[in-house]
C-alpha cells in the first residue's frame, strides 16, 4: 500500500485500519442477517420484513423501496439488541460466559485483514493488492485465525453450564476437526500449482488470483473447489451443517443461554465468517477480481481504455475500484448461495455429518491431492 496515511505513526495507522474493519464489516454482516430473512421469505412465498418506517422519514419520495427491503427493520433490530435488558443467568460461569461472544468477534474480524479485496497495477505492471495486512502467508493466516473462532462456541457451550449448549459446543469441536482437514487438503493443490518451479514460494492469496488470469481454479480443479465449498459450509456452521446450533434437537445450541447484544454478536461473527469464507473461496477458485475466465484485470482495463479512449481507466484508483466491485459482486453472490442452500436443504443428522466428513470428504480430498501432485509434477517438468 502506498504511504497515503499522512505520515501518521504506525500504531495510529494500525488503529485506523482496525476501525475500518469494524466500521465496514459489522454493518455488512448485520445487513446479511436482513438479507437472510428476505431470501428466506421470498423462498417461502412471503414478502418478508417490510413494515418498519420512522414517521419522520415518511415524506421522502421513494422511501418505500427502502421500507420494503426491511432496512428500517434491521435498524430497529440493532437498536433493540443494544438497549434491551441483558439477563445474566445465575448458573453460568460468568467470566467465560461474557468472554465467549467477544472471542467470537476477534477471529471473525481478524481474518479479513489478510484478505485482499482488490488490486491495482503498480509500476511496471506489477499487481499491488488492496489489503490491510499484506502478509505472504495469506491463506495460512486465514486458516490459523479462522479455526480460533470455534473456541468461542466451545467456550459458550461450556460456560452456559447447561446441557444443550454443552452438547452444541461438543458438536462444534467435533465438526471443526472433521472438516478442517479436508478444507486444508483441498487447498493444497491450488498452491502446488501456484508455486511453480523457479518462482519464489508463496501462500499469498494475491498470487493465487494473479495466477487465475487464464482459467479459474474452479475449472481446473473442480473437486478441490467442491470439497472446499462443502467444508466451508461446515466451518461456518451453516445449514445443512449447523450442528452446534441445531434448534430442533438442541433448543438453540451453544447460544441457548444468551440474549440481547451478546446473542447478536454471535450472529454478526457468523456472518463475518461467511463473508471472509466466501472471499477466500472467490480468491482461490473463482478468479478473484478477474471478471471472466481468460480476462485478467489488466486486459479488462486496457479494453475499457481502448473502447472509451479515456486514460482514466488506467489510473490506480479506477483499477482498485473496479477490482473491488468485481470481487464484492462475487462474494455476495456466494453469500446468496449460502442462504439459498440454507432454506433448501434440511439439516444433516449428526452421524451423517461425521460420516460425510471422515468417510467421504477426507478420502476424496486426499485422492485429489495425490492426483494433482502427480499431475502437476508431470506438467511442470
Amino acid at each position: 500500500m502506498p504511504d497515503t496515511f499522512l505520515g501518521l505513526p504506525t500504531i495510529a495507522v494500525a488503529v485506523l485500519k482496525g476501525l475500518a474493519v469494524v466500521v465496514v464489516l459489522f454493518p455488512v454482516a448485520a445487513a446479511c442477517s436482513m438479507a437472510e430473512r428476505k431470501v428466506c421469505a421470498w423462498i417461502q412465498g412471503r414478502p418478508g420484513p417490510n413494515r418498519a418506517l420512522p414517521p419522520f422519514l415518511a415524506w421522502i419520495p421513494g422511501i418505500w423501496i427502502v421500507q420494503r427491503l426491511g432496512i428500517f427493520n434491521l435498524m430497529a433490530d440493532g437498536g433493540k439488541f443494544l438497549f434491551k435488558e441483558e439477563p445474566l443467568p445465575d448458573h453460568v460461569h460468568r467470566f467465560y460466559y461474557v468472554l465467549a461472544p467477544l472471542v467470537a468477534m476477534v477471529p471473525a474480524f481478524t481474518t479479513v485483514t489478510v484478505v485482499p479485496f482488490g488490486a491495482y497495477l503498480g509500476e511496471g505492471g506489477r499487481l499491488v493488492p488492496l489489503v490491510l495486512a499484506n502478509v505472504d502467508v495469506g491463506i495460512l493466516a486465514v486458516f490459523a485465525v479462522a479455526s480460533l473462532g470455534i473456541y468461542s462456541l466451545i467456550l459458550a457451550g461450556w460456560a452456559s453450564n447447561s446441557k444443550y449448549p454443552f452438547l452444541g459446543g461438543v458438536r462444534a469441536s467435533a465438526q471443526l476437526i472433521s472438516y478442517e482437514l479436508s478444507m486444508t487438503l483441498s487447498v493444497l493443490p491450488v498452491f502446488l500449482w501456484v508455486n511453480e518451479p523457479g518462482s519464489p514460494g508463496t501462500l499469498s492469496l494475491t498470487r493465487a488470483v494473479e495466477f487465475q488470469g487464464g482459467a479459474w481454479f474452479i475449472l481446473t480443479m473442480p473437486v478441490s473447489a467442491l470439497v472446499f465449498a462443502v467444508a466451508l459450509f461446515a466451518e461456518t456452521n451453516r445449514q445443512p451443517f449447523d450442528m452446534p446450533e441445531s434448534e430442533a434437537d438442541l433448543v438453540g445450541g451453544f447460544h441457548t443461554e444468551y440474549g440481547a447484544f451478546k446473542w447478536s454478536l454471535f450472529f454478526v461473527a457468523e456472518y463475518a465468517n461467511m463473508i471472509v469464507g466466501s472471499a477466500v473461496f472467490t480468491l482461490l477458485f473463482l478468479g478473484g477480481w478477474n471478471i471472466l475466465p481468460g480476462v485478467p484485470l489488466a486486459l479488462l482495463l486496457n479494453w475499457l481504455h481502448g473502447a472509451t479512449g479515456s486514460a482514466l481507466w488506467l489510473s490506480p484508483a479506477a483499477a482498485g475500484l473496479i477490482s473491488t466491485v468485481i470481487l464484492l459482486a462475487k462474494v455476495f453472490s456466494i453469500i446468496f448461495v449460502f442462504m439459498w442452500v440454507r432454506w433448501t436443504v434440511p439439516r444433516f443428522r449428526y452421524d451423517q455429518v461425521m460420516k460425510l466428513g471422515w468417510q467421504k470428504l477426507l478420502p476424496l480430498s486426499i485422492v485429489n491431492l495425490v492426483a494433482y501432485t502427480v499431475g502437476i509434477a508431470l506438467l511442470q517438468h
Binding site: A41, Q44, R46, P47, T344, V345
Partner: protein, 179 residues
C-alpha cells in the same frame, strides 16, 4: 400381527452423493424465490369473504328502511354465552309502522362473550339478525367491545326481503281481510 417387510431399493451411487436431490431442491426453491408471494398483506389487502360467512352478528333493515327486530328476545334467550341484552320498547302510535307495535329500545351484543354460533340468526322469526362478513373487531376497553344498536344496524345494512310480512298484514287489515 402381520408384519409387512418393505423392500427398499438401495440408493444408487449418484444418489448417495446427495447432489441430484440438492440441485433439484435448489431449483424448486429458486422457482419460489422468483415467483410472487403467496401471502396477503392483511390490513391493506383483505380476503374476499364467501357468502353465508359467519362473522360478527348484525341487525338488518328491510328494503324500505324499517328495522326488522321486534324485540321478541328469542335470540337473547337462546344465546348460549348470554352475549345479547335487549331492552324492549314500543313503536309510537303515529308511526308508519305502528302495527308492528314493538322495536328494541336498546340492543347490545357483547363481542367478548359471543361465540359466533349463529343460533340467534337461526332462531329469529323476523329474519332481523344475521352473522355477516365482518370478521375483525378490536377495541381498547371492554366497553368498546360491546356493539350497541346503532353500530349493529350500521354493520348490518339492508338485506332484501321477499315477504315484507308486516306490510302484507297491514294491507290485509285495512282491506278487511279475516280479522
Amino acid at each position: 400381527m402381520a408384519v409387512i417387510q418393505v423392500q427398499r431399493r438401495p440408493l444408487t451411487l449418484v444418489e448417495r452423493t446427495y447432489f441430484p436431490q440438492i440441485l433439484g431442491g435448489l431449483m424448486t426453491t429458486l422457482r419460489h424465490l422468483l415467483g410472487p408471494a403467496e401471502t396477503m398483506e392483511y390490513p391493506e389487502q383483505r380476503p374476499a369473504i364467501p357468502p353465508h360467512y359467519r362473522g360478527v352478528p348484525t341487525l338488518v333493515r328491510d328494503p324500505k328502511g324499517r328495522e326488522k327486530c321486534v324485540s321478541c328476545q328469542l335470540c337473547e334467550f337462546v344465546c348460549p354465552p348470554k352475549a345479547i341484552r335487549i331492552t324492549p320498547g314500543s313503536i309510537p302510535g303515529d308511526s308508519e309502522n305502528a302495527n308492528v307495535e314493538k322495536a328494541p329500545q336498546a340492543f347490545d351484543i357483547d363481542m367478548l362473550r359471543c361465540i359466533y354460533c349463529g343460533l340467534c340468526e337461526e332462531v329469529c322469526p323476523e329474519e332481523a339478525i344475521f352473522l355477516q362478513d365482518v370478521y375483525s373487531m378490536s377495541g381498547y376497553s371492554r366497553a368498546e367491545m360491546v356493539n350497541h344498536k346503532d353500530r349493529l344496524y350500521e354493520m348490518g345494512g339492508t338485506l332484501p326481503d321477499r315477504h315484507l310480512k308486516w306490510e302484507a298484514k297491514k294491507a290485509a287489515e285495512l282491506g278487511g281481510g279475516h280479522a
